[in-house]
């Protein structure tokens, strides 16, 4: 059982819990004893990480919110005596998002757009999770074409995100030729997204019913994905023979399985620590899906999982498009104004599990809670970075594929 979120309702506290692919909302006693990440989730808007460390010569190296190396607005309070990192406390409050408040009292089509704007590089995963929560609330299933197109969208998102993470790791290790070629592939992947959905970040295509006729360039998309796969495999294989590169990643920012489960982290980070958990395995239209895992839990393992998943996602996209072309679609549109009730939906995003809890009254969202992978990822980064040196910052941070836009719920300071 994993705790994914804590929220207040009717002056009481409710918890979002996960057991494999089953999610529930419960009011449990002795929460702090049962779930080690309860306090972290409760204070996720104020700080994530460990407490400040005091001692002779120890100082706070404050990194961010506007500084080189940190693209998003957020602060890393890094406690060190000048060499090893003793503790990391992350302040996500500099970035104001307030998406949940914006979703409340919105019509469903507006709420989908808001969900896409939580974090653009996980836009499709967020909209998928939101729509699945709506479907759970309305107790209906979308048609096969809609579900398969969603799989294509999620996997395209995974491809460009993984390429971006691996290119950043390569950049951090000054592998300039490899970085340039990976960045080239990253841009090619974004162009493939545009070809597929008319949006480089796969926005404004997801819905309760997705019309197959809106996708005219599927053959061209397959060719491009095949090209990306072929080039990436060539580069990745070559990169593994570069000891300069591998040396920087090997045994850096190790997060073992026990720690990862305690934090509640999901996605490639958890799989790189040896845990066979990927909720795509429970989805009906993922055919012969295989979970990719590694054992070490270090930056290298996280990169290897992402690299293998990139290739696997290319295969899934090609396979799904082939099936989409063969299936006839029934025009089974749903009256959204009739939807009322509460539901939970999830999606296995490139960096972990995105989960939405929604309450809907006659097609209007009255309540929402969003659990995002970056919240857990920041805690995983803070814990795994302890004991290493500041030079490892970029590898450690980039390997989790997280960002403040996905993490921040409200924003405290602004």
């Amino acid at each position: 059982m994993r705790l994914l979120g804590v929220f207040e309702k009717n002056s009481g506290e409710l918890l979002i819990l996960q057991n494999k692919n089953l999610f529930s909302i419960e009011n449990t006693h002795d929460v702090e004893e049962k779930f080690a990440n309860y306090t972290m989730l409760k204070n996720r808007d104020k700080h994530i990480g460990s407490k400040a460390v005091k001692g002779n010569g120890v100082f706070n190296f404050r990194y961010g919110p506007v500084t080189g190396g940190v693209g998003d607005a957020g602060v890393f309070n890094i406690y060190t005596y000048g060499e090893r990192i003793l503790s990391v406390d992350i302040d996500p409050g500099y970035k104001k998002r307030n998406i949940e408040a914006s979703i409340k009292n919105s019509a469903l089509h507006q709420a989908v757009n808001w969900s896409e704007n939580v974090c653009s590089n996980f836009a499709f995963s967020h909209s998928c999770a939101f729509l699945r929560a709506v479907e759970d609330a309305g107790d209906f299933m979308p048609d096969e074409i809609t579900q398969r197109i969603r799989i294509v969208g999620v996997e395209l998102e995974r491809i460009y995100n993984h390429l971006n993470v691996i290119s950043r790791l390569s950049k951090g290790a000054s592998q300039n030729v490899l970085t340039s070629h990976l960045e080239w592939l990253f841009e090619e992947a974004l162009r493939a997204n545009k070809l597929f959905s008319n949006s480089r970040f796969l926005k404004h295509i997801n819905g309760l019913f997705i019309d197959k006729d809106n996708f005219k360039n599927l053959d061209e998309l397959v060719l491009r994905i095949k090209n990306i796969k072929e080039k990436f495999q060539e580069l990745y294989e070559h990169s593994l023979s570069s000891w300069n590169f591998i040396d920087r990643l090997y045994e850096t920012a190790v997060l073992d399985q026990k720690k990862a489960l305690k934090i509640g982290v999901t996605g490639p980070t958890l799989r790189a620590a040896g845990c066979r958990e990927d909720l795509r395995v429970y989805e009906k239209f993922y055919d012969n899906f295989k979970i990719i895992t590694k054992d070490k839990g270090d930056v290298l393992a996280r990169m290897q999982v992402r690299a293998d998943e990139t290739v696997s996602s290319c295969d899934i996209v090609i396979d799904q498009i082939d099936k989409i072309k063969k299936i006839q679609q029934n025009n089974s549109k749903i009256a959204v104004s009739a939807i009322s009730g509460s539901g939970i939906g999830y999606c296995e995003s490139p960096s972990g599990l995105v989960v939405y809890f929604v309450n809907i009254e006659k097609g209007i969202v009255s309540d929402v809670y969003i659990s995002t992978p970056s919240v857990f990822g920041f805690k995983a980064f803070a814990d795994s970075f302890v004991g290493y040196i500041f030079t490892d910052f970029s590898f450690s941070f980039d390997s989790f594929g997280i960002n403040f836009a996905d993490c921040v719920k409200v924003g405290v300071l602004l």
Partner: protein, 88 residues
């Protein structure tokens, strides 16, 4: 496969610059030297960060025009941007 150094120079990834049909205004008087842009995130949803990263990819290679996006280094010029507002 060739060594990285040889591999790097055997592939030309940068796309040729397409000139606009319209006559653009010269910016020599405003920016006489290279343009360094230091983005400050004021709450965007991340796509602008990604698009800026994409501008530095070999396809565009905006460094060749003297434009530098200082995402990973400290510089002194600033610009800010706003988050996308979803279409209603």
């Amino acid at each position: 496969m060739k060594s990285w150094a040889l591999y790097g120079i055997t592939k030309k990834l940068t796309e040729p610059f397409k000139k606009l049909k319209e006559n653009g205004k010269k910016i020599d008087k405003i920016f006489s030297k290279s343009l360094n842009i230091y983005p400050i995130d004021v709450g965007n949803n991340g796509d602008l960060n990604f698009e800026m990263a994409a501008l530095a990819t070999p396809q565009y290679n905006i460094h060749r025009f003297g434009i530098f996006l200082q995402i990973h280094q400290d510089t002194q010029m600033f610009c800010s941007f706003w988050e996308n507002v979803p279409k209603g």
